[in-house]
Amino acid sequence: MIVNRRGKNVAIWGLMVTIAVAAATLATWLATGSLSGLMVLWTTGPLAVVWVAVIILFYCRQLERQEAQELQAPAAGGGATATIFDGADAGQARPAAARLASMERWVVPIFTIFAGLCLAVIGAVMLPRLLGRPAIEVGREGVGMLLVGFAGFAAFLFSWYCIGLGTMPQWRLLRAGGSLLLTVVLFLAAALVAIFLSMQEIDSVDWVVAIVIAAVQIVLGAEMLLGQVMDFYRPHVAGQERRYCFDSRLCGLLAEPRKVGHSIAETLNYQFGFEVSKTWFYRLLAKALIPMLIFAAVVLIAMTSIVIMPDGYKGVVLRWGTPKAQQPLLGPGAHLKWPWPVETVRMFDMAQVHSIYLGLKGGQPDIQGPEDVDQTSGKRMRLWTKPHKHWNREERDFLLAARSQRASPQGGKGPDQLAPVDVFRLVTLVQYKIADPYKYGFRYADVQQVIENVAERETARYCATATLTSPAELPDQPEAILTYGKAKAAEQLQKRIQNELTRQATDVGVEITAVTFVAVHPVSEAAESFEKIVKASHEEAAMRFAAQAWAYQALSRVAGSPADALALALKIRKHEELSDIAGRSGDLGARLAHLDGLIFKVSDDIAAMDKEIAGEALLGQVEPYKLTLRDSYRAYLALLGSIRKSVSGEGPTVDLAGAVAAAGKEADKAMGEVSGEVAASLARARTTRWEVEMSERSRLAAFYKELPAYQASPRMFMMDRWQDMLDRTLPGMLKYVIAVDPKRLEIRLNSDQQSDVTSRLRDAQPDSNKP
């Protein structure tokens, strides 16, 4: 009875120690924020449950012993008097024993399952949360270490006391609480080391210890639950010592580490079929284990003095965390250095191309694997009119200055105005490589974020002055970022980002290898109106091309080719206008005004040609004759300018008559060189000219030849020649002889039936079917 009372008291002390440890770890967590401290706190809950179970069991055993002694006392006195319990069954006769049996049968499993569930659930809930968060910075390490240290020391002493008592069968129950308390002590020791390392700015150990504790909780909880399930099917032999399931065997190994080595040796013996543990090698291993472990540790540390740099990497050697002065970068291959922790090496992959996407919502996308793009008819399509994503990231709006902005009348201080901006979407891929590991690796806490921010800023700034489709108002300004200025924009943006990233204050030691516009387009709601512009521009081009075709045809018909025609037209115009200038006299003001008008017209024509040539240059198909023609216009403009200066007396005298003559010659020469209707017309004129002359000459020759015959007999000659003519012409002709008195004859032709009459007359002719 005394034994059980003592066991109960020790268990009560165990519960109090557990509560004290819980209070200490709670205070530690509140003071330091240590995750490992928090996890130890969670472990004390199930431990308390175990202690309560132990207390209850000791108390029930105490009552049962007391009851047994009370029953034995009368029997020892020899009294066989009947009692009111006579005839009752064992349960009614020994209620304390029945209570103990009931406790062992129902309450112990309930406590075991509860404690196991607590451990498993706490571990399962906390483990993913811990894995999903980074290490935190532990504060007030000194306070935390004191609390954890004192609690751990007290718990260690008490747990050894309980484990020591638990080696005796009558106090075996204390082993369960003691071994679990010892496990908590180990957790506290790990937490102490973690907090200590946090003091040395190594915060990650605290996070790792918390994760390990959570994992151990899951294992212990699973062991308890599984053990309890197995216990339901395990036969219980009366009188045999029973091991309760809340008495963890795993924790028991911690309590008695020698058992671990013993178990390993027995396992080896069993596996190999002979006494492996008695061989010289096993004994040597057992004796020299510690020196070997030390040797292994020394070898491991020595190995840290060898550095092998992979291809494409550069390494920076840090001695006590600081780069060595004048130390060249380590290239690919094997290198020697002082072992850890004296020297360490930071490696940088110089060949890797890093990518940053700009213009997407929600940060950088995960670009592993293929991109999910909308498909139409089995083809990957990304259209303006459909909103689309890039690696599941939505596109972001960019602001662009609109050219048609309405200025505020108060110089920007006025009331509400229409926002002078356009909205469009721009997704940019910025790619870079490390150029200087010292700047890249040691200047910024997060280089990628710096590059992303700078690139975003430069893009926003570039767009702030860029136009969407129209030309820039000023030279060297970003323009037409949606159309022809896109390639130039990417190039300029790359330069801007590179310049900004290599500025003295913010140099990050990278080389921007490429800036690519992945997507540039208007927002989908406005996309259709942009397509209408494209359609209209095609219509405009179609009208222009049709007119040009007509013009080419007309000019080619006239002069053989548009180039010749336009050159000839300019020469003719020049000749005509110069002749006009030369023919004017009198009022100087009127002459100057006339010249100014001509200069204006020619300048206007040159401007139109410039525009036309610029348009063709964009398409890469400028017709060479237009450049020549423009030069001719410019030369004519220069001549007009000289003439004006001459007329106004501001410049040297120009030989106007000579200029007119030269222009006339030029026009005549050009006229002779062209083909087409002009050439035909001139050829006809020349033919006519010679026909006229030659005809008269031949007539004169006939006149002189036949004149003597005529003079010999004028009437006969005339009659003869007349009849000869009729003989030659009349035979093939249809003839109607009117043999009546002409005075009685009236010939009427109905104009409506003229064609019929004519055709009948024609039909009557022998060769009427000829054309």
Binding site: Q200, G321, A526, S529, L555, V558, S681, M719, Q765
Partner: protein
């Protein structure tokens, strides 16, 4: 005995290592280190200039606090705020900062996260104030001279840097406007405006096409007509040379003008009659035919009469 000695050595080594850890420390290239003696910080150690292995007295006499000497980037909260011309815009700014005075930093905020939170509040506030003082056209403008983003960033930097340095021992290296956007409702209005602008632009393009086509045709037509007129003038000039040459021959015909005219008329008649013609012969005028009615007689010489080609004169020339 040997085993016990080994255990003692290992124990001593562990204890020694732990003790060494409490007195030795390293200051990395990217760190500031502050050694505090009973909580009072001494002069900070800059890892960039004075890094490496250092020693101190063990805890709790001296304790160590380290801060990063690297630069941090801090993104402000995206805020909607009006410009001076009452245009609401959505602005996101960021700043690059670093700890420049670790002692002040330790006393003022002590943790990087806390400093980030304070700086973010200030950055938001300063961004708001500075944006309010500028018109939208100073943020976005096709005229690069009027776009004031660099100046706006500098204004925010000046406001932020002074406070951060004096209060927290933090140097703000740069401030940037990371993104500019419009509120959702304004964006919808801008999109509507863009659509209308594009519709007008499309119509303008079509009109321009018509005008350009007309101009091209007119220019070509004008050039063709000019060339045609000039060519006609030239051709007339050439033809007139022929008549001029013929004129030189006319006086010679005066030797017998009647005969020359008869020859000319005869030539012309033959040419006119050589085509397909219908001839109506007045029997009373033709001697041969007259003979049919009045019997044989000597014919008289005919008087040459020009025969008109028209039907009215009795002869109709067929059309081809």
């Amino acid at each position: 005995m040997l085993k016990r000695t080994s255990i003692i050595i290992i124990g001593l080594a562990i204890v020694g290592s732990l003790l060494l850890c409490t007195v030795a420390y390293t200051v990395d290239y990217t760190e500031w280190a502050l050694v505090k003696t009973f909580g009072e910080p001494s002069a900070p150690i800059n890892g960039r200039t004075d890094g490496g292995l250092k020693f101190k007295l063990p805890y709790p006499i001296q304790s160590l606090t380290k801060y990063p000497a690297t630069m941090y980037t801090l993104e402000a909260t995206t805020i909607e705020t009006p410009t001076s011309d009452n245009q609401n815009i959505v602005v996101t700014t960021y700043c690059v900062w670093r700890i420049s005075d670790p002692v002040k930093f330790l006393r003022a905020v002590s943790k990087v996260e806390m400093a980030q939170n304070k700086l973010r509040d200030w950055l938001n506030s300063d961004t708001d104030k500075v944006v309010n003082r500028h018109a939208l056209t100073e943020f976005v403008n096709t005229d690069g001279r009027k776009m004031q983003l660099p100046e706006i960033e500098k204004e925010i930097l000046d406001r932020l840097a002074e406070k951060a340095q004096s209060d927290y021992g933090v140097q703000v290296v740069s401030v940037g406007v990371k993104s500019l956007a419009l509120p959702e409702a304004v964006t919808a209005a801008v999109i509507s405006k863009m659509k209308q602008e594009r519709e007008a632009e499309a119509q303008r393009l079509r009109n321009q096409g018509e005008a350009t086509a007309t101009a091209i045709r007119e220019r070509a037509d004008s050039a063709a007509r000019m060339i045609g007129e000039f060519a006609k003038k030239k051709a007339d000039s050439i033809e007139s040379e022929g008549y001029l040459a013929a004129k030189e021959l006319y006086p010679k015909f005066k030797e017998n003008e009647q005969f020359s005219m008869f020859l000319r008329m005869l030539k012309s008649m033959e040419k006119e009659l050589s085509g397909r013609s219908v001839v109506l012969l007045d029997g009373s005028l033709v001697p041969g035919i007259k003979f049919l009615g009045s019997g044989p007689a000597l014919p008289e010489a005919p008087t040459p009469v020009p025969v008109p080609p028209a039907v009215k004169g009795g002869i109709e020339k067929n059309k081809p």
